[in-house]
Amino acid sequence: MFKKPLRSSLPFPLTVRACLFLTAWTSLALSLHSGLMAQNQAMRAEASFSPPSITVSNGTTYKVVLFGTQETPQGAIPSIPGLTISNNPQVFRTASFRNGTPSVKMEMSFQVKPLKQGTFILPSWDLKVGSKTLRVPEASLQVLAPSQQDLIRLEREKQQREDLKQAAFIEFDAPRPFLFEGETIFATISLFLWDRLPVTRIEQAPVKIGDSFSMTELRQPNEKRNVRRNGKSYTVFSWPIGLTAAMAGDHDLSFKTSIRIRANNPRNSPFNSPFFNDPFFGFGREESLEILGPKQTIEVRALPMKGRPAGFQGAIGSFTSLSSIDVDRVSLGDPVRLTFELSGTGNFSAIPAPQISSDKQLKVGPPAFSFEGNQLTKHEGKQSFEYILTPLSAGLVEIPAIKFSYFDPLEERFLSTRTSAHPLRVDPGENWNSANPQPVVEGEVSNEDAVPTVDLFQTESDPGEWFPALQRKTLLENTNFWLLQLIPLVGFCSLSLLGFRRKTAGIEKQRQKENALLRQMKDSVGFKDAPALLRAFRDLLRLRIASLRKHPNPSSLSSEEILSLLRLGNNPEEIIQEARELLRSCDDQEFAGNELARQPLESLYRTSHGLLKKLK
């Protein structure tokens, strides 16, 4: 009996499930043991070019196969002159059983492009796999001369490159191949777009590449269609610009822009520009295309120092100047408008207003600027500077001529223009106080039209001194004012203190003097020295009476003067008489010698001391 194999007796889904189960186990086993397999299998490397023989216009592949490992190796392919080897290999890993033995390998493919014909030998080189180093053997490639087909293809590619360059390009037109430092020229940037190029929009206006120049802002371009160039029809977008040279020397200048185009599948194009392969350009996605203009070297010359006028303020170009005033006769204080106009071509944006200084006759206000012409480039037009002048004195005043110096880049020399002076008659003005205002009757509506306003009020054309607020701080609110009061206060206090000290010092001195004289009187009694006693008494009396009567010089007082001062003080007659006796005794003693020596000194001392106490 023939038995059916067990497998065939199984229902179909069960068979599929069993196959799947087995496959899964096999894969799992392979993956689990791949490390073991790799460890068991000896690692080695092989290298070859595939194909090993090519023509110069074709490419080949450099293959490196690593057996016994699937780890990513590390290393560098030696460079061979004449061969371009890509750095981005394609990697392919495999695992298999050969005769029951597990085997793993890794294959790396590098794209190689020959640059010339000949035989190239890539020498052996080292690869590091984990901690081990593998030696990659050398490989040889033979590059043969190009075939006829290769030559045709190369020619086609070259043509396509030229077409790409001609499809969209930038041109920069400058009037001269050189500029002067600070000079502004009018130039045009033109973007040529081939009519067959499926441009959807210009992404970005041209951008300047070159730091040595400054450029005015770009606005909407001018569009011109059907311009023939290189046997093709173009649409040209042009931007007028004012280009200013910033520094002297030879400087590169170029422009770049980007446009948006409709593109087909890029993989079909060798230049990533698929529209060349698609005559209808399709309606696919959009792609940005950057257009770089040719680099131009522009010579920027420094302005000559020779012949440079003193009033030169950086104007470069060709100019004519004109000045005018709005009136030729004004009243004193009325403003006069002086307009200085500068016409021509040049760097208007960099020209400052000519300096007109005020003098005794005219006061000059700051100018107002205005420009008529292309506001964007400010290269050609008319620049006006308007000054407000105020005559300061009556009579015939001359508004001075304005000199303007500039450098002419065409003539390459400095030139100056001078406007004519303007005579201005300045009337002294009417004294409006003398004007008779309309008589106003109480309750009557005044005639408004009759208000004389024209001649009576004058406008000052100069603001004068500015104040941050109308209400200024008064001195009473000023801290400095009060602080300033400290100075005289200190002076006053010092003087008072000095006066007081001087007064007290004088009193003390007198007191000491009186005490000394009193002591002398007492001592004289002890020594029985009558002359000394009388002298001391008289001095003491002089001091006392001078002190009481505020006499400035006590020592000069005679006896009679002392007595008269005593009378002035309303002293009693007895005291005056007593004083007279004593003073006579003093005089006698002074002029008569020792005749009085017989008098008792004790009583004389008591009398004189008592008299001194009673004085007032």
């Binding site: 403003p335 607020a469 006066g499």
Partner: protein, 276 residues
């Protein structure tokens, strides 16, 4: 080198821009002068007013007063002449123009600066300085007399003289301060602001019994007339905010005969005291 050159260019541009845009009050002033010279009085007034928002100058307010006079807005004209005279009290033209404007506006000149011309508000600093100088010089001389023991008779005569001068200067300071404070409260009647359905063509402005448009008028004033705001306990102008959002001031004439409530936008303060 390039960055240096660019730095110089940038600096030059910046300096130019600063010179152009700095000094806004000057720029506005000259714009106004140009506008006036062109005959565009409204633009000139606008520019002058703009400049006055930034800073003040006697010529600015004088010019503004002239323009308002030409526009026959006598209240504003007189107000600006007063402002000009505060900044430059000795300017004869302003004084003369003010007198003329007052005359044209049929306003009797206020007595703020009239009865005691020497004690006007603008002389407060002068009187203060004079008082200070007199006080200290006299005191120093007295102390010198004391130091040098000057006789009592001469000292007494000097003392009397000194006290007399001091008294006069103090009087001057007090009177000038009074005037100064009065100017701080002074407002000029600008003009009537008619409502949309207001058929009243009169220029007179009512001083009302109560702070409200419907209140009956106590009396009336004309544009250019001078009033003085009543102050409250805090020293600020006595004001009232009506339900319709209008601000009212209680004001009176210099002699006190006219008194009543007036709308804030119908008067202009000579000094912005900040005490509102």
């Amino acid at each position: 080198m390039r960055s240096f050159a660019f730095g110089i260019l940038l600096y030059a541009f910046g300096a130019n821009a600063c010179a152009l845009f700095a000094d806004s009050q000057n720029r506005l002033f000259y714009d106004a002068v140009r506008a006036e010279a062109s005959g565009d009085l409204d633009s000139a007034i606008e520019a002058y007013e703009g400049s006055a928002q930034v800073a003040h100058s006697a010529n600015l307010h004088g010019n503004l007063a002239n323009l308002y006079f030409k526009k026959e807005q006598f209240g504003r004209s007189i107000l600006n002449y007063r402002k000009a005279l505060i900044l430059d009290p000795d300017h004869d033209d302003f004084s003369a123009n003010l007198s003329f404007a007052l005359e044209i506006a049929q306003v009797r000149s206020g007595d703020t600066d009239k009865p005691f011309v020497s004690f006007k508000a603008s002389t407060l600093d002068l009187w203060t300085a004079a008082l200070g100088v007199c006080f200290w010089s006299g005191l120093l001389l007295l102390s010198a007399f004391f130091f040098f023991r000057m006789d009592k008779v001469r000292t007494s005569i000097f003392l009397c003289l000194w006290l007399g001068i001091l008294g006069f200067c103090s009087f001057g300071v007090i009177k000038a301060k009074e005037k100064h404070d009065l100017v701080g409260r002074e407002v000029i009647v600008l003009g009537r602001i008619p409502g949309p359905s207001d058929a009243n063509r009169s220029k007179a402005i009512s001083l009302r019994r109560f702070a409200g448009s419907t209140s009956s008028a106590n009396t009336s004033v004309i544009p250019g007339e001078s009033l003085f705001l009543d102050l409250d306990d805090k020293g600020t102008a006595r004001a009232h905010l009506s339900p319709d959002g209008r601000k009212w001031y209680l004001a009176r004439s210099s002699n006190g005969r006219k008194r009543g409530w007036i709308r804030a936008n119908e008067v202009g303060r000579i000094l912005e005291t900040g005490k509102e």
